[in-house]
């Protein structure tokens, strides 16, 4: 069973993603921040990591870098509800430059979530 690690500080978001993915047949693990996500990944590497960008303890961009450094083959999909820009790039574009393999702008359709995860699992 393919596995997904959902890293988001919002419990509602983690819950809705968990339900959608579990319904689609994925095993889902949750973490409420970047550091906790990395800890969990070390114990149980997931096939795909869904990583929120704006989190209080360690932001997603740092976490993506950390994942890419420690686990170069990890598949991280960035997601955010924010609209902030770094120069001319938004956070999701920056996340992709840092090594995220996909990006989801919140709010997203359930199907879009499933499609994004499925694309990485089958890679």
């Amino acid at each position: 069973m393919p596995s997904v690690l959902v890293v988001d500080d919002e419990v509602q978001i983690r819950e809705v993603i968990r339900d959608a993915l579990e319904q689609a047949g994925y095993a889902v693990e949750e973490a409420c921040g970047g550091r906790e996500g990395l800890d969990r990944y070390r114990i149980n590497p997931a096939d795909v990591v869904l990583m929120d960008i704006l989190m209080p303890d360690q932001d997603g961009l740092e976490s993506i870098l950390a994942f890419r450094r420690e686990f170069p083959s990890s598949r991280v999909i960035a997601m955010t509800g924010g609209s902030d820009m770094i120069g001319v790039l938004n956070f999701l574009e920056v996340a992709k430059m840092l090594g995220a393999c996909g990006a989801l702008q919140k709010p997203f359709e359930t199907q879009a979530l499933l499609n994004a995860v499925a694309a990485e699992v089958t890679v």
Binding site: E10, Q12, I13, E15, V16, I17, D19, A20, Q23, L54, T80, G81, G82, S83, D84, M85, G87, V88, Q105, K106, P107, F108, E109, T110, Q111, L113
Partner: protein, 801 residues
């Protein structure tokens, strides 16, 4: 008066030099006095004439001091240089008192301090010498002295004249001097004197003197503080040198005057400073040519106060009249600086900064204004820049706020949409709960799009241009606006442009659209009406002249925003930049908005024109140049939307909607047949019912309702999925639609992003084995049919498709 014995006894205790002398000779000197005179014993000086011990050039002054105030026991100040027996000069200062020596002999008692007795005294006395010499040798130099303990001042005649008074006609006081100073210089001069008092250094400062009759002098004030033995300041000695004579205008040879005029011309031209002069006695008024230019008046218009007041913007008039009255008030300080607006004869509004000064004649109850001089500078650009700065600041705050709100909203909407979509399959499709959840999903999607629009509008980014579908931008902006405007204002959207994407800065373009639309809505001022938004292709075969400039021949995408609100002021229509004339904030905000929109259009190579008429409202047209070859109507955003190649029959009554819908569906890859009436749609469907995978129909048709047409089509094709487009005025309930086999209800008008997902979902559902709709046997065969066959069908059934 003390006897000599008593005096001598007392004098021996004093550290001051005590010298007693009559007009002929010295009669007494105490030890300190002998030291000041450079003598070792009384015999060397007693009986000698005092003049022997005074520098020749100080003799007259010292003796004058000694001789004045006869009979006055209070003493008079005395200063000068003693010529010592050793040949050195000793600076001394002190007082001179009249006494009777040995009860019969009239003498003067001199109580003197030498410069050696104070730290700064010698230097101060030397400086005093410099000033005295300066006073004596330079023309138009006045001197003054102030006793700090008593406040008594002594002014020279020239000093009185420099301040504008005849000697002897004015009480010399510090207050008189302070009042004569130009108000802008007062703090500076006061600061220099205070600094001198605190630091024991001389001061030297230039300042302006305004004389009672209105004349002005430029003077150089210098002074030094004199301190006593304890180091406390006791006197200030000063000089005032009139330097006005050094300026060109005061030269008596005429050349100076000419030079002065040249300087004045140069300065006023460089700064575009208008000048006026108003003689109150005769009522004459003079306006310089630059001032006439600022006023927009020709040389033949007589200068008068009445004409000037007439130019003042009505909203500022009362304020300025009050200022004029105050400027003429003899109790006031006669100087006024004020900003106000004028409306020139051509209707343009300018912001002026006016400095005036009124001169007075007479004193007390007979004091009255003699003339007023003024300078006028146009500060409209400054005022506009300030207004833009405020707007930019507001936008920045909105941007920050919107970003924060968007983040929170998007997280919440993710939960709303996600949980709703997860819940939907768990509920039987024929229940109210199912339909309610559908409504939640639809509302969530709309909210999501509104948040996106809000963020895009407020985002501050580096200008970047992408190939963007302007029709799509317009539709999205209209949708955003629709949710915010009052219900009594109708938005009439007509997008007939067939142009695809063009290179624009998306953020700027959104901002321009919203500015124009909000401006039009606000122009309605709480009355019902229609705001029309048009987007169409325009081809100019020749150049077109407009009030905003020439529009070269060529192809343009023309955006028009019309309102039926009140007419704009002419200057707003013609120039946009002379806009801060409004008496209410809505009009002012619109004027600024138009200016911003004009700049955005210009930045894209376009031109904006404004046509405003009484009773007809205002039409703002933006002409955006189109490239010679337009790319297809697919933007970056559109490219990521779900697409397909199925056949769709679109039925809508409005020509513009039909054209827009066809463009949109075709941009998503669908083969589309469009009809504008139920009858023609039915005919097309009857011709090839199996060639359509989806019917999208507007509920409001001219000859039949949309649900009736759907029912008729489904008689032929029961598996045909139907999307019904409804507006707020349509009374069709969800239950009713569902009972008719309607797959989805979609709000009117089409919005590409939303429609693309709905269409794809409905088509996918019709393919799904779990779909409640039976899968037609012919559908699959059609889906893999060559697209050409549908195009052939489309062509066969009429030009509209």
């Amino acid at each position: 008066m003390d006897t000599p014995d008593t005096l001598v006894a007392l004098a021996d205790y004093l550290s001051d030099g005590i010298i007693v002398a009559d007009e002929a000779s010295l009669v007494y000197a105490n030890a300190r006095g002998l030291m000041l005179l450079g003598a070792d014993s009384p015999e060397e000086v007693i009986g000698q004439p005092l003049t022997r011990f005074v520098r020749p050039d100080d003799v007259s002054q010292i003796f004058q001091s000694m001789s004045c105030h006869e009979g006055d026991n209070s003493g008079t100040p005395i200063w000068g240089r003693l010529l010592r027996a050793d040949g050195r000069t000793m600076n001394v200062r002190g007082i001179s008192l009249p006494i009777l020596w040995e009860e019969t002999r009239p003498c003067r008692l001199l109580v003197l301090q030498s410069s050696h007795q104070t730290d700064a005294g010698e230097e101060a006395m030397d400086q005093r010498e410099v000033y005295r010499e300066s006073v004596q040798t330079r023309p138009r130099v006045g001197s003054w002295e102030r006793d700090l303990s008593t406040g008594v001042e002594i002014w020279s005649d020239e000093y009185c004249r420099i301040l504008g008074y005849e000697p002897g006609t004015i009480l010399p006081t510090l207050d008189t001097f302070a009042k004569a100073l130009h108000q802008d210089d007062r703090d500076r001069v006061r600061g220099a004197i205070e600094q001198s008092l605190a630091s024991d250094t001389p001061y030297d400062v230039e300042c302006r003197i305004i004389q009672p009759h209105g004349g002005h002098r430029i003077v150089r004030c210098r002074g030094v503080v004199i301190r006593n033995i304890a180091g406390d300041p006791v006197r200030i000695l000063g000089s005032v040198q009139d330097q006005t004579a050094d300026t060109p205008c005061e030269r008596s040879d005429g050349q100076g005057l000419r030079k002065s005029d040249e300087w004045l011309d140069l300065v006023s031209c460089a700064g575009h400073v208008g000048m006026c002069d108003w003689d109150h006695r005769f009522g004459h008024m003079y306006w310089s040519p630059i001032l006439r230019d600022l006023f927009g008046l020709s040389a033949d218009v007589p200068a008068s106060l009445r004409r000037y007041v007439k130019l003042i913007h009505r909203a500022d008039r009362e304020r300025i009249l009050a200022v004029i009255r105050a400027a003429k008030d003899s109790a006031g300080d006669a100087r006024v600086q004020v900003e106000h607006r004028i409306v020139r004869p051509d209707g343009t509004v300018r912001h002026l900064s006016v400095h005036v000064r009124t001169g007075f004649e007479g004193e007390g109850s007979v004091r009255e204004p003699s003339h007023t001089m003024g300078t006028v500078v146009d500060v409209t650009d400054h005022a506009l820049a300030e207004a833009y700065r405020c707007e930019a600041s507001k936008l920045m705050m909105i941007s920050t706020l919107a970003g924060g709100i968007a983040h929170e909203f998007n997280n919440n909407l993710t939960a709303v949409l996600g949980f709703s979509q997860l819940a939907l399959p768990l509920v039987p499709a024929d229940t109210k709960a199912y339909r309610h959840i559908q409504q939640v999903i639809a509302a969530g999607r709309i909210s999501s799009e509104l948040v996106h629009q809000l963020v895009m509008f407020s985002r501050q980014t580096t200008p970047t241009r992408h190939s963007i579908s302007v029709p799509l931008l317009v539709r999205e902006s209209v949708k955003l606006l629709r949710s915010t405007i009052p219900s009594w204002i109708e938005l009439n959207e007509q997008i007939t442009a067939s142009t695809g994407s063009i290179e624009v800065d998306e953020t700027e373009m959104r901002r321009m659209l919203i500015i124009l639309m909000i401006g039009a809505v606000q122009a309605m001022h709480n009355v019902s009406g229609v705001v029309g938004i048009e987007l169409r292709d325009v081809e100019l075969s020749t150049d077109m002249a407009t009030a905003s400039g020439r529009i070269p021949a060529g192809r343009y995408l023309c955006l028009r925003v019309k309102d039926s609100g009140e007419k704009l002021e002419p200057q707003t229509v013609t120039t946009f930049n002379t806009t801060l004339d409004a008496t209410n904030s809505h009009v002012e905000a619109r004027a600024i908005g138009l200016s911003v929109a004009r700049d955005i259009a210009a930045a894209h190579g376009g031109v904006m024109t404004v046509d405003s008429r009484v009773g007809l409202g205002t039409t703002v047209s933006v002409y955006l140049p189109m490239p010679m070859v337009c790319p297809p109507l697919v933007s970056n955003e559109e490219a990521s939307l779900p697409r397909g190649h199925e056949g769709i029959l679109l039925v809508t009554a409005e020509e513009s909607s039909a054209k827009r819908g066809r463009n949109m569906l075709q941009s998503l890859g669908y083969y589309t047949v469009v009809r504008t009436s139920a009858a023609s749609a039915r005919a097309a469907f009857n011709l090839a019912p199996r060639h359509f995978d989806l019917l999208i129909v507007d509920q409001t048709l001219s000859d039949m309702t949309g649900d009736q047409l759907a029912r008729e089509c489904r008689r032929l094709r029961p598996d045909l999925p139907v999307i019904l487009c409804i507006g707020s005025e349509d009374a069709l309930s969800v239950e009713r639609a569902h009972s008719l086999g309607i797959a989805e209800l979609m709000p009117r008008p089409f919005v590409l992003h939303e429609s693309a997902y709905v269409i794809r979902r409905v088509l996918d559902r019709s393919l799904s084995p779990s779909s409640s709709l039976p899968l037609p046997s012919a559908a699959d065969s059609f889906r893999y049919e060559s697209p050409t066959s549908l195009r052939e069908v489309s062509d066969a059934i009429g030009p509209c498709g």
